[in-house]
Amino acid sequence: MSLKREVYEALEAVVGKRWISEDEFVLSGNRVKTPEVPFFYHTADAIIIPGSTEEVQKVLRICNENGICFVPLVSGVSAESFANRAGTVLIQLSRMNKIVEINGLDRYAIIEPGVRHVQLYPELRKRGLSYTAAAVGPGGSVLANFTSSSGDHHNQHNASRSNRYLLGVEMVMPDGEIVRTGSLATDSGWFCPDGPGPGLRGLMKGYFGNHGQLGIITRIAIGLTPCNGPSEIESGGISPNHYVRMISPCSKVYVFNFEHIYHVRDAMLKIGEAEIGATVLKYFYLPATLMMTNSANEFHEKWNGGYKEALSMPLVVHLATQSEKEMAYEEKILFEIMEETGGKRIPREIEKWWDEHMDFFMIVSRLQSVLRLGGGWMPIKLGSDSVTHMCEIGRSIGDFIHDFTDTGKIFDAPENYQIIPMEYGHFAHIELLVNWDRTNPAAGKGIGELRIRSRNNDLENKFHAETTGSLNANMEALGPLYSNCHLWLRRIKEAIDPNGIANPLM
């Protein structure tokens, strides 16, 4: 299927000949073919690269008038970034890549969709500022992480999650109309998430983000935080043997290992009560080992050579303070808590990796090494609730996952989940990450089965463990657990996008 000539020409007139293509080889670059999404294979009718909000408006009007579905994307790493049905165009937003403003005084930045973490983070750091960089890796779109995902990240123990920092939003609706939310709606600037009247931010953003199902977000403002720890960063080495250090007595990383998730829970809660620590996370042991190695072979050697045990239930703690005295205080409290909860320091030869790779804490660097085992991977759950609730979910993973690890359907790492507390333990996020042998077709089928088992486990136990917010089949099943929000999502979708052209995921 291809676009009618007059439609193509109308789109071309908007963006210019250079920024639209229906060449097969260009479309090929964005066809689904990733290891984790081997099961659809759709072709977009065209790829359009608009350069401004005005062009996005005109493009969407043409799409709306002609019943053409559109999918917005930037980095294209997620499965929502591909044509999922016939009669779809992809709207690549990478040309809209300006940092419009960094306001250090009022601590906000206005950005367009094409700005990546690896661009924004250093700009802010130069100004003594930071932000909540979602756990997606350096090439991810900052805007997409604030608007189309939960925005969970490694430092949310003290900084909270990204969606708490979403301020003014400019969004083009499927019919081309522009909606501005928060203080922006009344021309009062970008600084505030909510303005007079109903909070449209919640409608647009919801819990997880709408993946362009309600239109295309073209600009946002995000709240900024002061930099934690020292401003001096030392980096060097040649890839893949890089290092990024914070040489300061006010920055220290400790990694402890625990016997049981309940002990981790107790430690997280006590650390939160004490309000110490910049980063606290129960990290995945498989990615942790992968990040510390430079090849799959080296990974297998280390995993089987003691890392699996040394990191079986690891709690990573980054202390970043304003003074040495404060550091001494936080260290004292931390070690007392570890004594009480049974946390044991992992061998220094492993722990020191974190000292050498502080980019892990800044922009969640080296995360893609989780894909090193051939690319078959899948994040499952991704929900949030209290620390206690999340740790209970973590414990219950063991109720079903061994059917998959013990039979070789997924990599044998049954404890491969992370829990990140936020706001000093008032809330937490969970993610179960599974890797499978992509070269084994039977293993791929096992993933679908695992997702169903995981979801059924959540439904049986009334766990708030899954992501919600996108109109997909999973949501239909989980909606009742979340006050029937799927019914509301459907009504909102039908009201805003009656023609169903904006990234119809279902």
Binding site: V26, S28, P35, G76, S239, N297, H300, R372, R438
Partner: protein, 412 residues
């Protein structure tokens, strides 16, 4: 297609994470100068990137895309600089560049190579150099009466670029002479190194020329090859081993010069010149010069390569020696560009004929980056980078720069 199938694991393993397009995190600098793929930076469509070309390769392999129906446009737009490969391999075990090169080879065998490439190949065949200049003039720049050490088992390989930049070859000779290094020239027996043929995917032509050169080195009993040109250096280290064992040690003139400086065998004068400059890493001296080693084996579940594979991740390029030379020259202040060493932005010279707009735009970007760091001059070690970048900013080859400062042994 069997050749392409060899890289199917790489094609299938890409998750579109984008690391092939963006600067390595330890080098992150700011909004600007963050992109490392020349073709993606210019064209913006994801097809124009390592990730996109892996997708295209897969679809050629499975028959969804047909050779000769336009994919050549993106394929030969690629500068083959290897930045995507190094960046991807900072976190993955995927052969991005080898896959792109193999697709080129397959397309070239199907007769879809660009005319400009075929024309260059014809020149190499007829004149043994990429410019189509008379072979008789390959060493025409040598001063009258110049004598090399004809019994030496060390050869200075000057490369085709001596036609256009004889000053580089002359500077290399001056450095070696000043340092007391005995060497010989191959003179009329020196042919093109073949890098352009190989890069273009013209494998039969490349193999013929490379085999001829390797046989010559053997026949002459060459134990050490010093190259004046980054292209030849990267070729001997990264390409030649694919066609047989390279028995000779291969060094670039900057490696030799840095050692001579360290050992005090050459001394430098101060000429009162104060300059702030930046060093541009040529791809073929940096990431692409990493030695190539054959690997045949099995990829077991979860990426285990049996036997273990030695990956080319850009680690073993020549980065330190040029910087040591600049450090040693009195009166110079060097500044680093954000995209440096294994993550340097390519000058895009090699796509001039196939994607001129992209090539020019990339060169402009590199110059903008140098100027933004406050540099007054770019120094590099590759004649092609010199051609790409010198139009808009003062630029000098590092050998030529060093030779100007050499205190003794100045006369050839």
């Amino acid at each position: 297609m069997d050749k392409l199938k060899k890289y199917e694991y790489s094609m299938d393993s890409c998750n579109h994470c984008g690391q092939c397009k963006w600067i390595l995190p330890p080098k992150m600098h700011g909004w600007d100068f963050a992109e490392i793929c020349p073709i993606h930076r210019y064209h913006r469509f994801d097809a124009y990137s390592g990730q996109g070309l892996l997708n295209i390769s897969k679809e050629v392999l499975n028959g969804k895309l047909k050779i000769g129906e336009g994919l050549e446009k993106v394929l030969w737009s690629c500068t083959m600089c290897g930045a995507c490969d190094v960046n991807c391999k900072s976190v993955r075990d995927i052969e991005v560049l080898e896959t792109i090169h193999t697709l080129r080879t397959v397309c070239a065998e199907e007769g879809t190579a660009p005319e400009s490439l075929l024309s260059m190949a014809k020149k190499v065949e007829e004149t043994h150099n990429i410019y189509g200049e008379s072979h008789d003039k390959r060493f025409a720049w040598l001063p009258e009466g110049f004598e090399d050490d004809k019994d030496s088992d060390t050869v200075l390989f000057v490369g085709c670029s001596a036609y256009t930049h004889p000053e580089i070859a002359l500077a290399a000779i001056k450095i070696l002479k000043a340092g007391g290094v005995k060497f010989r020239l191959l003179r009329e027996e020196e042919f093109c190194c073949g890098a352009s043929l190989w890069r273009g995917g013209l494998m039969a032509d490349a193999e013929k020329l490379i085999s001829r050169n390797m046989a010559l080195f053997k026949e002459k009993g060459i134990k050490k090859i010093i190259t004046a040109c980054a292209e030849c250096f990267g070729s001997f280290r990264g390409i030649y081993p694919r066609f047989g064992a390279m028995e000779a040690e291969v060094l670039h003139i900057t490696q030799v010069a840095a050692k001579l400086l360290e050992e005090g065998k050459i001394t430098l004068k101060t000429d009162g010149e104060m300059q702030k400059l930046t060093y541009h890493d040529p791809c073929m001296l940096g990431r692409l010069s990493e030695p190539w080693e054959a690997w045949e084996g099995e990829i077991k579940p979860y990426g285990l390569h049996v036997p273990e594979k030695k990956w080319r991740r850009g680690f073993d390029g020549v980065y330190a020696e040029p910087r040591a030379i600049l450090e040693a020259i009195p009166g110079l202040e060097t500044v680093e560009m954000p995209r440096n060493k294994e993550d340097a932005l390519c000058c895009a010279y090699h796509s001039r004929e196939t994607d001129g707009d992209m090539s020019a735009c990339t060169a402009e970007e590199r110059i903008r980056e140098a100027k933004a760091m406050g540099a007054e001059k770019i120094v590099s070690a590759c004649p092609f980078c010199l051609d790409a970048l010198s139009d808009a900013m003062p630029m000098e080859d590092i050998s030529v720069l060093l030779a100007r400062y050499i205190e003794e042994g100045g006369a050839i």
